[in-house]
């Protein structure tokens, strides 16, 4: 018997039972060196697999593979290079029975990695390309709809009149669009998009309003790791924001869903002890 508020998320060959207070930890593996907050560059498939398996051993329930950082300095990695780097990693993880999410706004990357066995597309564009929804529908995969109002690799701190209302509007609109493309609603995951197109003060506002998002009855993904808003509060640089990351996780752990982090072991230890 599942706990009240549990969200069941079908994602291709996997089904996640997402209980409030017990978020699934999503470990981040980047196949490119662009991430501003990552502290390691895993240049080889072996290194990426070793890191991913260590994350799983530490308690990650899903691996999020990033192929092109959203940072605004540096150019995008060519699509062919993103696919070439991601597909072998996805295949290797899937062979181990590990659920894999792909952090991408690109349909070409989604197409190749879903075919390789990924069960979720973490679309960091907020569904700018509806082909992503069609691909997820075709593969029975889950789709993360992230709130942002700027394009990939563009940085802007927009002046939202009501950031929570804007997030709600985007969730409503893009979920309907995904469903119109054939994706079942229960496969939609909502990410309020900490740090995406919002100034730090808006991140605080949206974190204070999490119950609003939870009330939609869908899975919630929180990119909790090393966020700028927390650096504003404490002054810590990105790679040194573990206490800040755990504070963010503490604020959202009542949401049924996922917390996306670099520091899997520490966050898992926190969640296990905080029950």
């Amino acid at each position: 018997m599942s706990a009240p508020g549990t969200v069941v998320l079908p994602a291709a060959q996997h089904t996640f039972m997402l209980e409030p207070g017990r978020p699934v930890v999503m470990g981040i593996i980047n196949t490119n060196p662009g991430s501003f907050s990552d502290t390691v560059h895993l240049a080889s498939l072996d290194a990426q697999m070793e890191r991913a398996m260590a994350f799983v051993a530490e308690g990650a329930g899903i691996i999020d593979v990033g192929t092109d950082s959203g940072v605004t300095y540096g150019a995008s990695v060519p699509l062919e290079q993103q696919v070439a780097a991601a597909v072998p990693l996805v295949e290797a993880l899937v062979a181990e029975g590990i659920p894999v999410s792909i952090d991408t706004p690109y349909a070409a990357v989604a197409r190749a990695t879903l075919a390789a066995g990924a069960c979720m597309i973490n679309d960091v564009s907020g569904l700018a390309d509806l082909e992503i929804a069609r691909l997820c529908a075709a593969h029975d995969a889950a789709l993360v709809i992230l709130h942002t109002r700027v394009g990939h690799k563009q940085e802007a701190f927009l002046d939202f009149a009501d950031v929570v209302a804007d997030i709600e509007d985007l969730f409503e609109e893009r979920t309907a669009m995904a469903v119109a493309e054939g994706l079942t609603r229960d496969r939609v995951v909502l990410d309020p998009g900490l740090g995406y197109s919002k100034p730090p003060s808006d991140d605080v506002m949206l974190l204070r309003a999490y119950d609003t998002f939870i009330a939609r009855g869908l899975a919630i993904l929180t990119g909790a790791s090393r966020k700028l808003y927390s650096g504003v509060i404490t002054g810590a640089p990105p790679a040194d924001r573990l206490p800040e990351t755990i504070a963010t996780v503490a604020a959202v752990r009542r949401a049924p869903g996922f917390v996306r982090v670099h520091d899997v072991g520490a966050v898992r230890a926190y969640l296990d002890a905080a029950r």
Binding site: Y73, A128, S201, I233
Partner: protein, 128 residues
């Protein structure tokens, strides 16, 4: 890029008093919670889980992770509305993203877009 004015954090969370072991006369100087974690991040995670329920209390926490505990409490206090979000300046160089290993830093600060957010804002990534 060299910061001209380093960001000054305001770590004054309400609630517990947090001290390093060296600041108290002995290990059992009335501490509500006393813990040594060394450099183990998982121990830090467990420590923060134990501290979280104490955040509203007038507790004394003594730990070698005192700086990390204060930062954890400071962020939680803001998120829970018990402390205000500090003022900040997005042009403060120390708040900019840091170019990671292997990536040449390119002009940063980023473009700051101000004004009303809308679907036709510059660079808006709305679905077609």
């Amino acid at each position: 890029m060299t910061p001209s004015t380093p960001h000054v954090s305001r770590l004054t969370p309400p609630g517990p008093t947090v001290r390093p072991p060296s600041s108290v006369p002995s290990d059992d100087a009335g501490a509500t919670l006393l813990r040594t974690i060394g450099d183990d991040p998982q121990e830090l995670g467990r420590l923060l889980a134990d501290i979280e329920p104490l955040r509203h209390d007038d507790a004394l926490i003594v730990t070698d992770a005192h700086a990390e505990v204060v930062r954890f409490l400071a962020v939680l206090a803001v998120l829970e509305g018990r402390a205000p979000m500090p003022d900040y300046d997005l042009d403060d160089p120390s708040l900019k993203w840091h170019a990671p290993k292997g990536i040449a830093a390119v002009p940063n600060p980023p473009t700051i877009v101000s004004g009303p957010a809308s679907g036709d804002a510059p660079g808006a990534g709305g679905a077609a």
